[in-house]
């Protein structure tokens, strides 16, 4: 789905990404994880073209990301961020359908798609005509997800989508989100700093540190075959969570 070749992102004070080579497989959920400042959010923003690489190239479905083609390519991606990024002046419905209306979809087609998504995301019909300020954090993220999925994109990019929610709602949404991913069989790239969440969602985990990719693989591989001492320590440090997770699952 995505291929990154020798990608660097340099800022005046520091390098945010250093020579990243990465392939993101289709139909799977890939988790970008690492300590704060490791470059995982930068990488995600690079994938949707919000920032340009200083060097190297980003390939999406065999096509290089470049300014002229970006607008059309973004319509094949869905993007969800931590605080939802909903437009405060539009209702939930208007937020979700903005792009479809812009592209000139018929009213029926828009409505059908919206109700399909509301069902998928368990968003109540009564909330559709509310403004974001009158929705809870969890509901806002459901709207954000509906908005991202509206055009049925090829890939869903999510930057800590559950990071701002309180633990109860977060756990509930994690379950729902995983079900949605399974139903849709979509390629998903998700940024998190929480290994338990990574384990819960991820087929493939990309562990980053200081702008570079240390290791890409399943949790099992990262645990048993750490590429270096940092990977080992990072996994072990959060092991207690993993243990807890194991006890929970049958």
């Amino acid at each position: 789905m995505f291929d990154l070749r020798h990608v660097w992102k340099r800022y005046e004070t520091a390098d945010a990404l250093r020579d990243v080579n990465l392939s993101i497989p289709e139909g799977e959920t890939t988790i970008l994880i690492g300590p704060s400042g490791c470059g995982k959010s930068t990488l995600l923003r690079l994938l949707i073209g919000l920032i340009e690489p200083s060097e190297g190239e980003v390939i999406f479905e065999g096509e290089r990301l470049q300014p002229g083609a970006l607008i059309e390519m973004r319509r094949r991606m869905g993007y969800v961020i931590q605080d939802g990024g909903l437009f405060p002046h539009l209702t939930a419905r208007e937020n979700a359908t903005l792009m479809a209306h812009y592209l000139g979809w018929s009213g029926d087609r828009v409505n059908d798609r919206l109700h399909e998504l509301a069902e998928l995301t368990h968003f109540p019909a009564s909330g559709l005509d509310r403004h974001p300020a009158h929705l809870s954090g969890g509901q806002q993220q459901r709207v954000s997800l509906m908005r991202a999925l509206m055009l049925d994109p090829r890939v869903l990019l999510m930057d800590e989508p559950l990071g701002a929610l309180d633990p109860m709602i977060r756990a509930e949404l994690q379950e729902e989100l995983r079900d949605i991913f399974r139903t849709l069989k979509k390629t998903v790239v998700m940024v998190t700093h929480d290994l338990a969440e990574a384990a819960f969602f991820g087929h493939s985990i990309v562990l980053m540190r200081q702008g570079g990719v240390l290791q890409q693989g399943s949790l099992h591989e990262l645990f048993h075959n750490p590429a270096d001492e940092f990977v080992n320590r990072f996994i072990k440090a959060q092991r207690s969570h993993l243990d807890a997770l194991k006890e929970d699952s049958p």
Binding site: R75, H89, L98, H131
Partner: protein
């Protein structure tokens, strides 16, 4: 949102257009003192009696009127020969009336024969004191070296003032002091001074029973009143010139002084003083029905709305795109904000004056000045409104695949709307207040009664302009709050 901007724009433009006057008229000008306004009124009424539409604009400084006449915004105005030779055309060292006529003709201008009176500097004493001492002429003063003189500061300093006068007449007096012109009259009345400088047709001469001493050696330059008019009137409106010519020699010093006194001291309206003179002198009935307070209010309100409406429509149309450009490009943005801020630091009166060479006098330069003055709050608030949108929201719009212009239209401008509206509101309130200054350059509006009120020291007239201007500003503010309540969703009104 778009509805709102369109609506606002249309509202201003409509207010402007509805109130624009369109008829072809003779433009009469007059200066910012009573005598000039009365002369302007006399000319206006005579010309109107000949069947023309007349627009009489009052309250200009000399320079504005002269420039207005040269540029054709004004067709005619009353002037003084001394002002022409000693101020306006002083570099040409004009000696005689014929030379003056030739100099005017080079500029496409004409002047009438003198109207009769000579509003020069003069020396005045109380009548009783003068007859006691037997003083009739300035030369007679030589016999009374102990008299106390009180002169205006201007007269003390002028080349043709006291120093030259003293030398010319060989005057022996040493008790000579400078003081305020208005205080001089009280000084004469109270007896603290015996003699003061006056203008020959001052209203106060009659009121304080003063005797004007004859300038028997002809020291003071002549300030003979004439009408200046544009040469093309001779072809396009000969009847106008014919009417002006009728005034040659028709107004004596005494007649003018008495008219000044009626207007300034008895507070009779200028127009009525003028029509009474015309009835006496020409046996013509030009008594125009005095406008009622309500008619004046409606007229001034329309003129004021015209100035505010057109200038605000233009400002909104230009300032919002400028604010958007400023927010989108950092370097360009700083330049725009810098330039617009500098414009704002220029005193509003100066902007009005700067516009005159470009646009003449009247409503046009006033609208241009108000336009420039209204830009900054809108540009700055548009800029601030756009820059205040959280990055996460801007990027969400971008990540959806919306093109830049659609993002601006659907997301960014609606989110900045509240701020933009606040900018427009600030602009309009400033604009309504500043527009009162437009009267200084002949634009009319609420400034007109304020100016006349200041000239005649009439608080009622000042209030006639000041109170509605304040109410209009408050009404505009209220209107914007209604628009805000109507158009901005609850969710955005934190």
């Amino acid at each position: 949102m778009r509805r709102a901007v369109t609506l606002l724009f249309a509202l201003f433009l409509l207010a402007g257009l509805l109130t624009a006057a369109s008829a072809q008229t003779i433009h009469v000008g007059s200066k910012n003192f009573t005598e000039s306004v009365i002369l302007g009124d006399i000319a206006s009424q005579l010309i109107r009696d000949a069947g023309f539409q007349v627009d009489h604009r009052k309250g200009f400084g000399t320079r504005f009127l002269w420039n207005g006449l040269e540029q054709g915004d004004i067709d005619l105005y009353p002037e003084y020969t001394g002002t022409l030779t000693h101020e306006i055309l002083s570099q040409q060292k004009i000696q005689t009336d014929d030379e003056l006529r030739a100099a005017l003709r080079e500029r496409g201008l004409r002047m009438t024969k003198p109207l009769g009176f000579n509003n020069t500097y003069a020396l005045a004493m109380r009548e009783r004191r003068a007859s006691e001492l037997g003083v009739k002429t300035i030369s007679d003063l030589r016999a009374h070296p102990d008299l106390a003189f009180g002169f205006s500061n201007e007269f003390m300093d002028r080349a043709d003032g006291w120093p030259a006068l003293k030398q010319r007449y060989n005057l022996p007096q040493t008790n000579v002091n400078g003081l305020e012109h208005d205080l001089a009259y009280r000084g004469l009345e109270g007896g603290s001074i015996d003699l003061a400088d006056v203008y020959a047709t001052d209203a106060e001469i009659e009121y304080y029973h003063l005797h004007v001493l004859e300038d028997d050696l002809g020291h003071f330059p002549e300030y003979k009143a004439v009408f200046l008019y544009r040469e093309e009137l001779r072809q396009s409106a000969p009847a106008v010139v014919e009417r002006l010519d009728r005034l040659a020699g028709a107004i004596s010093d005494d007649a003018m002084r008495s008219m000044n006194a009626q207007a300034k001291i008895e507070q009779i309206p200028d127009g009525q003083v003028a029509s009474e003179f015309i009835r006496r002198e020409f046996n013509l009935d030009t008594q125009t029905a005095q406008r009622t307070l309500w008619e004046r209010f409606v007229y001034n309100t329309m003129r004021h709305l015209y100035l505010v409406g057109v200038s605000m429509a233009g400002a909104i149309l230009i300032a919002i795109p400028l604010g958007v450009a400023a927010a989108k490009s950092r370097g360009f943005g700083q330049a725009i904000l810098g330039v617009v801020s500098v414009i704002q630091t220029i005193p509003s009166l100066a902007i009005f004056v700067f516009m005159i060479p470009l646009l003449g006098i009247g409503a046009k330069p006033a609208i241009a000045a108000l336009f420039f003055y209204s830009l900054l709050p809108i540009v700055r608030n548009t800029y601030a409104g756009l820059c205040g949108i959280p990055v996460s929201i801007r990027e969400s719009a971008e990540a959806m695949g919306l093109p830049a212009f659609a993002r601006l239209r659907l997301i960014e401008l609606p989110l900045a709307f509240r701020s933009i509206l606040a900018g427009v509101k600030t602009s309009v309130v400033i604009n309504i207040g500043t527009a009162t200054l437009g009267a200084l350059i002949g634009a009319g509006g609420y400034g007109q009664p304020i100016l006349t009120g200041i000239r005649l020291d009439n608080m009622g007239l000042i209030m006639e302009g000041a109170v509605p201007a304040a109410i209009m500003a408050l009404a505009a503010q209220g209107l914007f709050e209604l628009i805000e309540r109507w158009l901005i969703p609850h969710a955005l009104r934190s």
